[in-house]
């Protein structure tokens, strides 16, 4: 069911000048921050707890709980994660480019609630225009009195630095992001500690929140956590920005009420995905970024709900849905995703570094028609070495979750489309080549 809930994070997207301070102020901008300061930090944290806001980066961890883990110290930091690189995810790109002030205001509210005085927005380097707009918004926010000393005349002071990344998927992992922000190679840190809230940037306690997560904060503070929690159902509250791509008529971003809307609505409704491109047939879809196991057409009626998708054996992840149709070669799709992981593995852990490379090579030889029947078992064996049992959620043998994400697409391909893999071997060529 598609509900007519007003958008929360995309309310300004209809304006050409949505990125400017003038438009932002004319549409309620920085009112959330003023209200937050009037309420006080404790009350803001209570509202965010009431909202049950789940982190929008991919792991779906409750934002309020993450905040509550921040270790007390003289110096602590807030880092906003805008290094969006999960393939097929493009929501943060939209938010920084089209509503950068909302990101800045959200970050200020988070910093106020946490009592930190230094914040960073780490934005993916490839978003050159987004970075310019974010920096301009930051400069304008200082001039407006929303950043710097004694914000809006209060006792609260905050400095914010817009920081550009330099192109590395792994820097979306929060400890790798902190390493990168410290000017180093983006190597994820050994756990424990599991959360930077204990030991983060420069060894100080640090909260890392996603761009979309903080973009919800102005609305939550203005309208109350209860109103946010009234949207969606169960643990999936509020709205969420979904990124739809692949073989659909209308790829794009859609902000939808959580849980109420189904994958079928998203893919087929004329106001959303508009159905499979060229009237084709749905073959499979990825429900939440390429780290997620695939679903078949039989799961199209699942709700866009974190728990429901988890119970069905995958994840809502970063909120990006990729649609494959009858012309899509399952081997080629899984190969391309594996190739991505092989390129982006940071190289610290053997199962990930070696496993991704070998799986990619085997997948490629199958796709090119040089595979063997035994390759299917070999693939699953390699997957098992990375994430023992190849189950969901995956077992972890590596420092971070990039490694255990590798088997998702390969195992999905082999399990759901075994015949198609075998046909590649038997025919010595890709049987779908003509269909493309």
């Amino acid at each position: 069911m598609i509900t007519d809930v007003a958008p929360i994070v995309t309310s300004r997207m209809g304006y050409d000048d949505s990125h400017t301070l003038e438009r932002y102020l004319a549409t309620g901008g920085y009112e959330g921050l003023r209200r937050a300061i009037a309420l006080g930090a404790v009350a803001v944290r209570e509202e965010v707890d009431k909202a049950s806001l789940l982190g929008r980066g991919g792991a779906g961890f409750p934002a309020g709980r993450k905040w509550s883990m921040l270790r007390q110290a003289d110096t602590s930091y807030l880092v906003v994660n805008g290094d969006e690189s999960e393939p097929a995810t493009f929501k943060d790109h939209l938010l920084v480019e089209r509503d950068p002030h909302q990101v800045i205001e959200g970050a200020i509210i988070a910093a106020f609630a946490l009592g930190v005085s230094q914040a960073f927005v780490f934005c993916r380097g490839e978003f050159a225009l987004g970075l310019e707009r974010l920096q301009q918004a930051c400069n304008d926010a200082y001039a407006h009195g929303a950043l710097g000393s004694r914000i809006f005349g209060s006792e609260f002071s905050l400095d914010l630095v817009v920081h550009p990344g330099a192109g590395a998927y792994i820097c979306g992992e929060e400890t790798a992001l902190l390493e990168s922000l410290e000017g180093k190679r983006g190597f994820p840190r050994i756990k424990p500690p599991y959360f930077p809230a204990a030991i983060g940037l420069y060894g100080a306690p640090t909260v890392v929140n996603n761009i979309e997560t903080v973009s919800n904060l102005p609305w939550i503070v203005l309208h109350g956590g209860d109103r946010f929690a009234a949207l969606g159902q169960g643990s999936s509250t509020g709205t969420r920005l979904f990124a739809l791509s692949g073989r659909v008529e209308r790829p794009g971003w859609y902000e939808l009420e959580m849980s109420k809307t189904t994958f079928r609505d998203l893919v087929y409704d004329p106001s959303l995905g508009g159905g499979i491109r060229d009237g084709g047939e749905l073959k499979a879809f990825i429900p939440g970024g390429v780290s997620a196991p695939w679903f078949g057409p039989d799961q199209i009626d699942l709700g866009l709900d974190q728990d429901a998708v988890g119970r069905a054996g995958s994840m809502l992840g970063s909120g990006s849905v990729v649609v494959m149709d009858h012309t899509t070669c399952a081997v080629r799709a899984a190969w391309r995703i594996t190739r991505f992981f092989a390129r982006e593995s940071c190289g610290q852990c053997t199962p990930c570094r070696e496993g991704s490379g070998w799986i990619e090579k085997i997948m490629r030889r199958i796709e090119e028609g040089n595979g063997r029947e035994a390759d299917l078992d070999l693939l699953m064996d390699a997957c098992d070495n990375i994430a023992p049992g190849v189950s969901w959620p995956p077992q972890q043998t590596t420092i971070c979750v990039l490694g255990p994400s590798i088997p998702s697409s390969v195992a999905s391909g082999v399990r759901m489309f075994r015949d198609e893999f075998l046909l590649h071997v038997k025919e010595g060529a890709c049987p779908m080549r003509a269909a493309r």
């Binding site: 999960e86 050159a128 330099a166 000017g183 995703i337």
Partner: protein, 201 residues
Amino acid sequence: MAHLNEENLERARRLVAVYPEPRSALIPLCHLAQAQDGWLTPEAMEDVATLVGVTPAEVHGTATFYDMLHTEPVGRHVIAVCTNIACMLAGAYELLDHAEEHLGVSAGQTTSDGEFTIEEAECLAGCDAAPCVQVNHRFVGALDAASFDQLIEDLRSGMRAGEIPRHGILCRVERSVGLLAPGPTDGAGQHGAPAAEGTAP
């Protein structure tokens, strides 16, 4: 092409000052050096090293981790064609084949006149306009063979120079806001005057 020029050295010092620890400015300074020369020259890496207090080898070792930082020369226009899943499903490999044929170089190579480098990119977060292409990290929309050829012609004639500036990130917007004086850690306060507050460009 060599060391950072005076103007960029000054910008670099201001950038170092917005961070609690100088080394945090390493990647932004690499972007600045690339804005000047298009790539990270050994001389520029020496300057970055001096500015943030590490060795040139550490700058090189860090820079080579990141796709956007080039330790070899690249063309004036770096054309990145995404071939990841969403773009692949929209014909990205066919587009990349066309681009290579049209420019006479393979992905990873630069045309002999130094104008164009083609890169096969990972997902650029432009999947709603697939196959997604960037030039110097500016999105130029979903392209097909004909619109790719038109793009190349426009880039050659310079008619898109305003919209697609040279290399470098965050070089067209002033970055002088950031750190309150004095900084919260030992690293701050050692590198010149703190950044002025509230200075919109």
